[in-house]
Each structure stands twice: as structure tokens, then as C-alpha cells.
Symmetry: D2
Subunit: 504 residues, 4 copies
Amino acid sequence: MNRDSFAAGERLVSPAYVRQGCEARRSHEHLIRLLLEKGKCPEDGWDESTLELFLHELAIMDSNNFLGNCGVGEREGRVASALVARRHYRFIHGIGRSGDISAVQPKAAGSSLLNKITNSLVLDIIKLAGVPAVTSCFVVPMATGMSLTLCFLTLRHKRPKAKYIIWPRIDQKSCFKSMITAGFDPVVIENVLEGDELRTDLKAVEAKVQELGPDNILCVHSTTSCFAPRVPDRLEELAVICANSGIPHIVNNAYGVQSSKCMHLIQQGARVGRIDAFVQSLDKNFMVPVGGAIIAGFNDSFIQEISKMYPGRASASPSLDVLITLLSLGSNGYKKLLKERKEMFSYLSSQLKKLSESYNERLLHTPHNPISLAMTLKTRGEHQDKAITQLGSMLFTRQVSGARVVPLGSVQTVSGHTFRGFMSHANNYPCAYLNAASAIGMKTQDVDLFIKRLDKCLKTVRKEQNKESNVSGVDNYDKTEDVDIEEMALKLDNVLFDTYQNSS
Amino acid sequence: MNRDSFAAGERLVSPAYVRQGCEARRSHEHLIRLLLEKGKCPEDGWDESTLELFLHELAIMDSNNFLGNCGVGEREGRVASALVARRHYRFIHGIGRSGDISAVQPKAAGSSLLNKITNSLVLDIIKLAGVPAVTSCFVVPMATGMSLTLCFLTLRHKRPKAKYIIWPRIDQKSCFKSMITAGFDPVVIENVLEGDELRTDLKAVEAKVQELGPDNILCVHSTTSCFAPRVPDRLEELAVICANSGIPHIVNNAYGVQSSKCMHLIQQGARVGRIDAFVQSLDKNFMVPVGGAIIAGFNDSFIQEISKMYPGRASASPSLDVLITLLSLGSNGYKKLLKERKEMFSYLSSQLKKLSESYNERLLHTPHNPISLAMTLKTRGEHQDKAITQLGSMLFTRQVSGARVVPLGSVQTVSGHTFRGFMSHANNYPCAYLNAASAIGMKTQDVDLFIKRLDKCLKTVRKEQNKESNVSGVDNYDKTEDVDIEEMALKLDNVLFDTYQNSS
Amino acid sequence: MNRDSFAAGERLVSPAYVRQGCEARRSHEHLIRLLLEKGKCPEDGWDESTLELFLHELAIMDSNNFLGNCGVGEREGRVASALVARRHYRFIHGIGRSGDISAVQPKAAGSSLLNKITNSLVLDIIKLAGVPAVTSCFVVPMATGMSLTLCFLTLRHKRPKAKYIIWPRIDQKSCFKSMITAGFDPVVIENVLEGDELRTDLKAVEAKVQELGPDNILCVHSTTSCFAPRVPDRLEELAVICANSGIPHIVNNAYGVQSSKCMHLIQQGARVGRIDAFVQSLDKNFMVPVGGAIIAGFNDSFIQEISKMYPGRASASPSLDVLITLLSLGSNGYKKLLKERKEMFSYLSSQLKKLSESYNERLLHTPHNPISLAMTLKTRGEHQDKAITQLGSMLFTRQVSGARVVPLGSVQTVSGHTFRGFMSHANNYPCAYLNAASAIGMKTQDVDLFIKRLDKCLKTVRKEQNKESNVSGVDNYDKTEDVDIEEMALKLDNVLFDTYQNSS
Amino acid sequence: MNRDSFAAGERLVSPAYVRQGCEARRSHEHLIRLLLEKGKCPEDGWDESTLELFLHELAIMDSNNFLGNCGVGEREGRVASALVARRHYRFIHGIGRSGDISAVQPKAAGSSLLNKITNSLVLDIIKLAGVPAVTSCFVVPMATGMSLTLCFLTLRHKRPKAKYIIWPRIDQKSCFKSMITAGFDPVVIENVLEGDELRTDLKAVEAKVQELGPDNILCVHSTTSCFAPRVPDRLEELAVICANSGIPHIVNNAYGVQSSKCMHLIQQGARVGRIDAFVQSLDKNFMVPVGGAIIAGFNDSFIQEISKMYPGRASASPSLDVLITLLSLGSNGYKKLLKERKEMFSYLSSQLKKLSESYNERLLHTPHNPISLAMTLKTRGEHQDKAITQLGSMLFTRQVSGARVVPLGSVQTVSGHTFRGFMSHANNYPCAYLNAASAIGMKTQDVDLFIKRLDKCLKTVRKEQNKESNVSGVDNYDKTEDVDIEEMALKLDNVLFDTYQNSS
């Protein structure tokens, strides 16, 4: 409403009240102005009415929402379904232009602003989360793997001779495929065992660099966040090797924004050596739906080159999600989530330790992994694999999601490369184990239910394994509480066991 | 967004595009300004983005949406559920103040504006629909019956001696109860049969006025929209009687706004005689959810008196619904609906005539009723009622809603008053019949399905009634098409027959 | 989705996963079944997905959502605007039938269920809140005042001779108007001053009953929740007088559900004497938008009589709001809100006491009022009223809502009756004062901001009143924090002062 | 609601009505079952209540919506913002697994079903739109350009020696960049002029194949939909060349689904020769927001290879949009849109012809282009470019979006390759021109406004160009109607002219 509308309003109801309402409106506008001027995440989260006002204001700046628009092009932001238009707040034109995903669209000033602001907010949060040296980033509506691919494809143009990517092993398919898809040969560097931890074999990396020759190497592709007992790569040392050899360095920081340790590694790596870009998932770090990633770095022009590599426009949906989320939370809200995650990690760690000991198992000692934990699964005799797979299946049917059992000796071939000990990041890890992680948004209730159900499952598995022996376990499982889940699970166990065995 | 925000936006993306967006925003603002200044329904409907922008702007003028508000009263517009807040567009304070449902709320300038504008728009539409002489109206979040009660309660204070309400009979419970609830004695004036039509017995009204004495009569309570074969009351003549005797006149115009004939009667009645207020349903005339009515009249101060009678605040929900609806439709959209309704009435009429004749029945000749039609249901022997009730039940299970079968000789006692021939508006209407109406929003498909299913039901009923005779009916019923409904209906027939028999 | 759909789903994706999803669905269904079978508020609130599934399931049971429906009546639940349909979750038919607001609608099984369940849940909550003896209640889409009117209108039919309503004075317009609108003469019983409190004058009530004669008295109309220094009426004693004299007793419990004390008074009154119905606001007790009330009582048939008095259908909107709210909160969530309110009352009380003493004012001692507090406003000389009104206006412009200043000697005529000392519930209360209340949903931040701003305003007013004296006040006001509100307020002060003076 | 819930419901309201509601529910379930069983787009569109019920049912099969779920992984579908969760209907897990974007997710049976069904529906629509021979397709949440890149990257693994892509020139940046990003050298085949049309130079293609050698060629990359005067490539002949030389053939069918001609070319190409995959935009063909594409083909295993190339999960948002859209429209609704588009093309064509002739211009004769039209822009002397650019800018400020002016002799370098005559698909097209297209969803009003505004702009430009001559133009421009847009545009003209000049 503009001045004339308010004046008309004053004639309908009391001027004093309208004026008070009009003044109140300014508080919302003030927040919006600050956001646009500073480009920073507000400290306190916005309430829904400010947020929706803002999105509404942006949307009506897009040509598809112009009241007098007539479209004679092939892409006019027309929407067939009102449901679809509404769920996108009427942002239809996506982000970017054919030449550059970060470019401004003449037809869509609102969407373009949305894109710029989102990238600016995300940059602010990355700084706050532990990488103050970051200078540039952008949200891309692709998963982490495909975003890594985009980075590699960009590097190709700068290093036409390069064929190889040096990659300290991490057993996650999409990391590996990101290199294959880009058309490069991953050079797998096996990890070394230090105590229970699997860590980067720096010497092997250096040897490989010598052996292949820097010019033939596209980049080093390292990883921060990962499942224990693997721990984040030694980024500082890798960054130094890269700097010294003139090799680019791309870091897969998939769910590392939530951990100050992972972020600190990146900050330090960039300070003492070379990191060209680091890529992180939107969903895993910002609690939004799957589908977006952030490509960030310390050199504006390189990050821009990547953004110019994306041919064509792209979905604004992930950007919109993260924008809504960050404005709702505010930086204080996000910091609170980070703090709670850390606390939950300690809690999960202590509970899992207690439980494992009651079963004569052990929580692996992996102090360098700030997110994931692993507990040994001792197995006897020939049926070991079956028992372990059964445990995984049982947890799944009991609605424990995300727990991962890792048997010994699993072999898998991914895009032609054979991995021994697949899932364990090593050819011969000494024992089978079970992973659990404390990720952002986890609640005490998640931990408690997990421990309770795991206890129950372990008890069942042990009984089957060893009918004569009497294993007791933590005896705090209250049968009455969780009875529905248990009942349901029993029905599903057999069906799902088969499935799980094949798919894991 | 204010000027500063746009300026900041211009620094983020191209100034030219932001400026274009900013100009485009003005088109929305322009519509809003016009609405507030003129208080009239826009000719062309608004699109959703203008509508939601407007509602959003109003809502943030309410104190519960002030960012800095602190509430220390007993009614602060707090909402526990975000779903609830959102579905009300964050209008929480309702409309009106303790003293007057039309009064402005200091705490809620936005809701107050919403209320004023809605009433203004509705007034505009009533004029357009055929009562240009109307001067004042307001939306009240109560059904038609309770709104009539409020009118009667208001009149009580002006006519302390009055005990009676003169009421040309219409067999609809809530009309009758509206008078009982207000504490008055309805004096029922039986209708006279003219051809097939049941019309106002003006002589009986005049005689009653003489007999009881004008001062003892609170008002005449007449009706426009009604089920055939009753037709709208002779409003002009009643209005003249009222004017001459100094008796107030309240018109129940429940679903009459949709008919230019009903509206014309009111306009004429007010011109030549006396009409104090006319009351109409929101849902039946404006295709909104049940729960609101409009009280309108020709004398501002009387209408205000009624609005001041409502003790306490009231729900803004019906006002919001009708506001959204009218702004979406525009006056052109509403006129189009009126036109289509009229056409659909002709279509229904001709189809029903054709069908009735094929069954040796007859469409009653009720030219004064512009909305409802009636078709005779001949019955033979003692089982007549059962057959008719069964027909009603069959239609219901076949998802024909709103068709009403009216048997002969039904007797019902409502609040102590016994009505013979209940549902037929007369003690002894000559025949049983079935009603169907063409109300606003009806589609060709409604008529076609109705005729098809009615044909089918009549055929079945006839077969049962007279096994030897072979009645053919309109043979255009395509069994394959409507087969799902039929199948479902057969399963329900018995169950529902019992229910229907008891409830109708 | 039914069995066949799940089977088809299993062919598309893995049977095991579909089956797990299908089992998970049962948890939602289980909650819904429990609700329908027990009719009680679940202990733990439902999450949005269960809630929306439930509403969706109910809605498709209404005929307007039947896929094969054809409508030929005058009220078919058609909706012109998709926005409107959606915000009502496609419940269009409202609640009740022409004869009875609690009746089941054949066309709308879903809405009917919604209505029944809501009333059942609300009954459960009233018991839990402190009136276990309640046997019947229903939600009515009218404010408290109009709902009281409906009770009085119902009683009229049982007590045709009665003209008077005995009413211990409470200065709230809609209470008074509820009787006037119903057509009765309120007999105002002035309160007696006990300490600082204004309490029911039982002797005056008894005397009045004798004087007028029980048969001429429609009922006693008492009040629980009210502004200090008035306190809840002596319900037990009034209930005994009513029982002994055979006079009905209607209790205005407007915002009393949130206070165990108010509820206890009702429970006790009904136990030892007579309470026919008690009426409470939906919005003030359940944090939903304005517009609904609950009429409750201890005698099913009387409560049903009231529900049958409402002529016509009614809006389902308030029922839907309270249903969503209670299912979201669960009884535990509601109890938590009650507990927090009580704590906030203590906090507000102590903070206000501290502040008042720093200004040589006094928190009135009103231990029987569990919700509202009052702090004296000493005034000197002729300008007293102006200063007090100015304080009210200043608080308003500083976005303090709900604080009420009560000057001495205000006289107001409401519907012909003149109240001396209006707003103070007494002809001559000894001092002017300011009210603040701790209502459900209040937050610490509300109290803190209120105290801060009140301090600031008092300081300003005192300075103006007495230029030479130096009043210091609580010196914890941090100017930097609240600076925006203050700046804005200064601009509005003059404009609003005039308005406030006229409207209060 | 399950059987028990309905039984409980029957006890609350009449069993008959509940049963009717329960039966009505089956109609919705029936539609859902049919969809899951057949996997085809329903003929008639679903109404919103069926659609939302379906989405709701799917969503509760995902583990993040399990009521008893506990998550201990790093990706648990947690959502921080309720707004975000709601806008995605609580589908959070995206689609695909790390290995394959079409794979089923154990944690998300509902999302997996959504993905499968969407792909199945889209396949059905592609068949219906003119490529009945298609056998496989999938929706990918990337724009057309990036999707083409993915196809090229997949081919790389099958043709390790290949370095070149044969590409008949089309001046659209993202087409060109899709090859560059994939790391290949585009071999540009200039078009030949036939009449006004620019068509594929088949001989040049054949010569290039010979010259480079088939093994060194990754694929032929041809285009259907394009701006006139270029017309769709000669797909049949290209497909034959590819088949004969054993070269893969990827077709960019960006907005070709909407044209039966484009689709027919693909069908024929695949029948007589070789087409490995054809890629189309979701937004341009299905009126959904920007961000998705469909990769389709005639060989299941190749299409699966592409889907396995995408590393990691992906956004479900584009799939959800197209699912909602297709279910809302039904195949009949989509066919209707296709038919209307064709009619609108004729209308636009005739109107543009008329207008162009009135200015002594000419509509280029491009019968092979079914979507885009071009009208000559004669220019005189040195200021030609300026005048043409000014025309583009003027149209933009008058809210004509999508009209494209193409001056002569524009030179642009994209990723190192220099294009002469850029935007015109040819080094030396004989004249400057203006493009307009009839795309799906275009309305008569779009055409009329466009012609009106273009007329106005041409008039203005001509006046400036030639002050003495009097050009009249089509004189049907009603100044009063479009006055707001014009007024606004005048203000913006200068600002935007500069921008437009630099950006186009």
C-alpha cells in the first residue's frame, strides 16, 4: 500500500489507528532494507509475516507477475497449476541466464535479487561457521556429487593435459562417480590406520604426485565430513602439497558446515596452502530438502568461472528453501543448532559407549571425527556376515534410519574400479562395526530411541547367535513404550531382511 | 519494500530491471488504492498476487503482527497454531468492538479496514444485483436465521408492546425458529393456491393486522427466495400494508441476491412501501462457506442500530471469505455467474419438463419462482409415501444432493406449532412433488447427471410399484458412464432408506 | 491409498520399502482411530502431517467433495474462490441444521464429525481445566456476549413471566448488552469494597430476589474473569441462592478457562448450588481468532435446548480452529500453557509491584483475581484526567496493547443505563489505576517490554506534571534497545492522544 | 481413516451418512489405484482434493514423516522451517540414490514412488505428443543445457577417443556451452539459406564426418525448436547419417514437446535412422517453474546409463511440479493446451503479417518453424542498429517480454568461439528482424497486447527515424486502454535503453 492507499484507509477507519498500522509496517520494511543493504543473515530470525511480505515483494518484480505483461517468447514463466505457482511463491523464472547461473535475468528482477541475496547470506553463514577467509560462493541446484563434477569440468579447461584426480579413499559412491562422470581417472590413495582411525596417507599422495607429474593431475580431491573410523583428511598438509606442486585442490565438505572442526580445517588449509573450491550440501547442513549444494572458494574469479560453466538456467527452489530457512532462523538460530549438535554428539557418544561395553563391544576411538561414531560388532564363525546384515535390517524395520552396519570383507565394483572392504574406507579394517552420527537437528529423543532399539536388536541377535549364553544388555528398555514399533517391525523383519541384504 | 530497499536492490542487480519491477509493483498498488478510495467492487477480478499482497498489507496493520508489540491485556490476538494463523492470513482480532460489530478496533486497524471494505463491496454488489436504492448493509458472521433474530430483537426496543410477527407461511424451520428464538409469537398466514403456485394471502394479512392491532405487531416477516410451488411473497403489496399501518417489514431474502426478480421485488417494495431490512445468506449467494449473512436496508440509522445490538466482537472469517471472493471475481465475474445461473434455470426447466412428461408427470407451472422448480410425483394407493421417500433416499445414495421429495400430508410440530402438509408450504397441496433448483454456480453437468439419475430412479421405483406395466422413460441413460455411482448406491440403498425416512 | 494401490506401489518400487511405508501409515491411522473412539484430546499433540491427513479425510466425506456429486439444491457447498476453499480445508457446509446447531447434516458427514469431535474435545479440556462435573457443551460461532444472549433467549421460553436479570456489576459493555439485546432489564448489583477488592454484594442480591420475586427474575448472571480490582463473583453463594429460590444461573466465564481458580468456582458452584450454563470465549482461552464461544453446563437437556435455539446453520470456522489447536497442542501442551500463564502472572505481579513502588504508587492487593492486576495512579489537581488519559495514549503508541488506564469519575450511558465510575466497576472507587493482565500465551518478553515502556512513560508524564521534582524510576531502561519504537511513538503521540481521549 | 475409524465415526454421527462419505472416499482411491497400476496420465484432470490426498499419502511413506522414526545418519530429511516442509508437501529426501538418480531410496518409499510415477506419466505424454516409439525417459532437476552435458559425459565413456561434436549452428548460448562444459570441441556447421529459412547443411555434416572420422566424433547434436528464420534441423537425414556412420545422435528438443511437428521429426528420425537421446525442458513444455528437463530415448539401457551418470541424489521439486501439473490437467487438458497453442500460432502469424505489411515490412516465410515467427526490420543508414536496439528496449519497458530484436552484424565470442551475425544463426542473414513465438499457454490477449504495443513502438521509432514522412500503422490502438503501461514505460525508456544495449 502506498501513501494514497493509507490516506484512503484513514478516511475509512480512524486516522490514528491507520497511522499506527502504517508505522508498524515500517518495522518490517526496516528489516528488509537492512537485509538488502548489508547482505548478511539477520541475527534474530524473521517471523513469517516479514518473510512472506518479502517474498511477495520480490515475486511481483518478476515479469510473469506483471499485471500488464504480454509474453511472446518461448519461456514466459506461465504456470498451468495454481498449486505449483503458490508453492513457489510465484517465482517461476528460476535463476541465472543461459550463460551463467549467477547472472541477472532481465525478465525476473525479483528472482535475480533472491539469488543474489541467498548467495550473500550463505557466504555470511560460511564465514560464521568457521571459514572467515571465504570470499565467494553460490548455491547450485544440484547435489554435492554433481557440483563436484562441475568443478572438475571447469578445471579441465585450465589444465587440458590433466587426466588424473588424486583422491584419498572414501567409500561413498557419489564422490567417486563425480570424478568418473567428469571423465577423469581417480587415483585412489588408501588410508593409513592410526589407532582406530583411518587417516590420509600424505606420503602416498606426494609419491603419486611425483609419479604422475603435476601437469597430468587435474586436482587433489579431499574430503572432510565422513563416517568413522575414517576421519577428515589432513587438509593443511594436502593444501601445502597442492600449493607447492601447483595442483588445484577441491574439497568435498559435504556435511561439514555443521562442524567447526571441518570448517577450521578448510580455513587453515586455505591459509597455509591451496584450496580452490570446497563444496557442501544444502540439505545436510541447512535442514532443507535434498537437491542443492554450495560451491565456495577463496578466489572470486575461479568461483565465477564455475558458475559460468553451468549451461542454462536453473531451479530457484533450493535457493528459496535456504533463504527461507536462514531468514527464519537468523544467525543466532543457526548458531544454536550448531551448538546443540555438538552437545548431542557428546551425548550420543557417551550413550553408545555405555551400550557397547555392556555387550563387550567397544566404541572406536576416533577423536578426529566430529560427527560420526563407530561401535565394533564382534562376530564369531561363519555366520558373521549374516548376523551383521540382519542387525542392519532389524534396525531399519524398527524405524532407526541412518544407522549403518559395516561387515568385513565386502567387495564392490563402482564404475569399473574394485573396492575391497567397501564401506569401511580400507581394504582390511580390523573389525566389523556400526555407524551412528550426530547431525544437525538431531534431538535427545533420537538418541534415546536409537539406544533403546539397538539394545533390543543386539539382544535378539545375540540370543540367536548363542542360545546357551545369557547376555543381558542395558536393562532400561521399557517394553510398553515402544511396543507399536516393535510389533510392526516383527511383521516386516523377514521381508526386509532379504531386501536389505541385497541393497546395502 | 520502500525506496531504500529498492535502491539497495539496484546495487545488487541491474538498476534498470529493479526499476521495471518497482514500476510493475505500482500496478498492484494502483488497484489497491482504487479499492480503498472508491469502495467498489473492481470490474475485473484481481489476480491472486494482488489479492494476497493486499491481505498481507492489511494484516500487518493489526497489533498482533506488530514486530515490537507487547500485550498485557486479556485478548491480544495470540495464536497457538501456525496453521490457524496462516489460514486466517493472520487476522486474529475479528471484527467490531464490544459495543458494535461495525465499530473500529484500535488494536486492529487492518481488520477494521477489512470489515469496512467488505461491507462497502457487498453494498456495491447488492446495488448491482437489483436494489440500487439500498443505502447501508453489513456482514454478520451468523446464518440467515440468527440474523433475522437479531433484527427482531432490535425492533423489540422500538416496539415494546409488540408480541406478534405476521408471517406468510414458508416451510423452512430456521425461518420459523428465528421468530421463536427472539421471543415472539409467529402469526402464520396460510398461502393461497393460484394455479399451481402458492402465493401470499394479502387479505388475510390485512385482516390479521386489523385483528391484532398494529402496535401489537412487531413486524411483517416476508420471504422472497423459496421452494416451488411457493413463490416469492407479494412484497410490494405487503410493503404498502406495512407503510400504511406503521408496521416494520423484515424480508428474508435468503438466496435471493442471485435472482434479479427477487431483488427487483425488494427494490419495488422499498420504493412504494416500507421495508426496514432485508437479510441474505452469504454462502447461498456468494459461493462461500456457510456461516455469514448480510443485513441490508434503506435507512442508515436503523441498520446501525442492528449492528449495535450484536454484543461483542465477531468472527472476521465470513467477511474475509466474501472479500476474497468478490475481489477474485470482480463485478464482471459476479455478473457472469448471475447470467449463467439464469441460463441454467431455463435448461433445468426444459430438461425436467421433458423427463416428467415421459413419466406421465408434470412440471408444475410456477412462473413467479425464478430459482426452484417442482415436478409432480403421482402416487397410487397406500404405499405412496413409502415410494416417495424411497425415491428421495435413492437420489441421495446416487449423490444427487439438494433434490427434495415432498410427500402429501406430512405433519410436523416445530417449537410447539403444528404444521400440516409440512414441507409443502400449505395444509393441503394437491399433489406430492420433487424439487430441484438452479442456484448460482450450477453447471450443465449438474443438470445432466441429475436428469440421468432421476430417470434411472424413477424407472426403478415404477417397476417396483407396478410390476406388470412397462414404463420406459427417457432412454438416453448410458449405463456404462455412471456405473460406479450406481454400484455404490445399490450397496447403500437399504441403509440410507431407513435414515432418510426418519430424518426428512 | 487402499490395498490395491499399495500392491501396485510394490511393483513400482521395492515391496519391502512400500510395506514399511504402509506400516508407518498405520501410526497416523492409529491416532485418528483413538480420537474418534475416545473423543478425548490426545495427551501429546499431533504433528501437522497427521492433522492434515485427518482433516483431508473428513473433508472428502462431505458431498461438495464427492467426485460424482450433482447438486440441485439451493445450498450445495459450491465455492467460487480456490483460495477460500483451501483455507477452509474444503469444509464448506458449516455445522448444524436449520433446527439445531449440533445436528448432523446428511450432506456433510465430515463436517458433522468435525463438529461432534470438536465439542467432545472441548468438553474434555473443560474437565481437565477444573470443572470435572461438566456434562455437556458445544462450540458456537458467536462471541461470548451473543452466546449469553442465546442462553437468555432460551430461558425466556421456560420462564415466560420473567423480565429481570440479576447482574453483579462488571463494566464491560458486551456483558451488559447481552441482556439488553435479549430484551431483559438488567438489575445492577453494585459491588462492595473489601480491602482493595470489589466483591459480590450477596445481601443485595438476596434482597433483590425477595423484592422482585423469583418468578419475575429470568436468572442471575454472574461473572468470573474480570479486571482487577474487581474479583470473580462469589459463585458458590450465588449458586446456593439460585438453588434455593429456583432461579437459573448463567455464568460469564469469558476468559476463565485459563485460570484454575475461576474453573474451581464453577465446579463448586455447581456442586453446592445451581449453575445452568457457563459461557467462555474461544479466542481468549484457546488462542484462536476471535469469533467463537463455548456454552457448557451440567444438564444435557438444557444445553441441547440452547443449541436448538440457534436458528439455522453456522460457520464451522471457530470449531475448525479450536480442533486444529487442541490436536496440535495435545492436553499436555494445553496444560503447559496454563502452567506458564500462572508463572507469568507471578512474574508480572512482582515486576509491577517493584515499578509501582519506585513511583510511590501501589499494586492493589487483589488476591482473588488470578489474571488481572491493577496499579494505582495517583493524580494531583485538576489535570489528573488528562495526565491519565495521556498515559494510556502513550502506552498505545509505544505498542503496549491491552494496558488500560482507569480514571476516576468517568460516567457512561450504555443502552439507557448510566454507569458512574464506568470502567472501574464501582461508583466511587478510591483511586485511578492502570490494569495489566497475564493471559494465556503471554511471554516473559511481553512483561519486560511492558515494564520498560511503562517506566519510560511514567517518567515522562511525571516530568510534565511536576517540573521541579526529580522522579527517577527504575533505572534499568536501556535506551538503545527500544529506540525504534520510541522514535515512532513520539511521532504519533499527538495524533493518537486526541483519538484515545475520545474513544476510551 | 481405516475401518475402525469409520466405525467409530458411525457412532458419532449417523452410520448412513458416514457410509456414504466412506463410499465417496473410494472414488478418490479408485483414481489413485488406476494411476499406480497403469502408470498413465489420467484422461481427465484430478481435482485438488484427490491430488493432495495422493501427495499426502505418498509423503507419509517417507521415513522423515514416520511418527516413530529416530534418525542417526547424516541425512535424515530433517527440516528447520515449517514453511519449507509444507511447500514441498513434506517430501524432503529428494530422488535417486548416490549411484543412480532413478534408483529407489530405502528411506523414502513415497518419494521413490513419486519419482517412478512422474517418469511414467511423462513417458505417456511424450508418446501422446507425437513420439510413440519412445521407450524410456526420466526427469532430471537440471536445465536442458546441463542435461545435454550429462548426455555427452555419458557418451564419453563409450567413445573414449572422441573429441568433437558435430553441431548445426543455433545461436543460443547454453546449447553451445553444454558441449564446452562437457569438454568437447563443437564443430559448428553453418546453416544454409533456403528462401527465408535457415536449414541444416547436410552436405557439410557429411563432409565433416568424413574429414574428422567417425571415431573422433562423440555425436551429432541437432536441434528442433528454435527461433525463426532458423527451422528445426533435418532430423531424418541427420539420423540416417548417424546410423550409417555409427555416430550417436543427441537431439536438443528444448521446447519441442509442444509442437507435433518437432515431435514427429524425432519419431521419424528414430524410425529411419539413429537418435540416442532427446532432451526437453520441463518448464517450456509443461508450464512449470524453470529447473527441470526430460532425457528420453529409444533404448532403455542407454537412458539408464545416463541416469546412473548423475552422481548423488537430486531435487524432487521439478518432478513434483510436473506430477501435480499433469494430474491436474489430465491428458485431455494437456491436449487442449497443445491445440490452443497451434491456433494461437495461426492468430499471431496473421496479426503479425498484417502489422508488418502496414509498415512496409514483411513476415518472413518460415513454414518449417511451427513455433517462432520473424518480421523484418528494415533500417536505413548508419543509425540502424541503434534504432533496432531502441525498439527492443521500448518493447521491454512496455512489458512485452520474449520479443527479440535481431540486428545485423552482431559479433559475439562464446567460450572462445567467435560467432558472426550472432543471434541470427547465420554469418550474414539478409536483414534485421524481430522474433515472436507462440508458446504453450499463450492467450489471445497476449497477441493483441503485443500487436498493439509493437505498433505503437514502431510508430515512435519511425517518427524519430524520419521526421518528414508520415507513417500511419494499424490504427486500432486505443490510447485510453493501455495508458498506464505507456506512462510507466516513458519514464523507464532512457534508463533501460542503456541496459538493454549492453546486455542483449
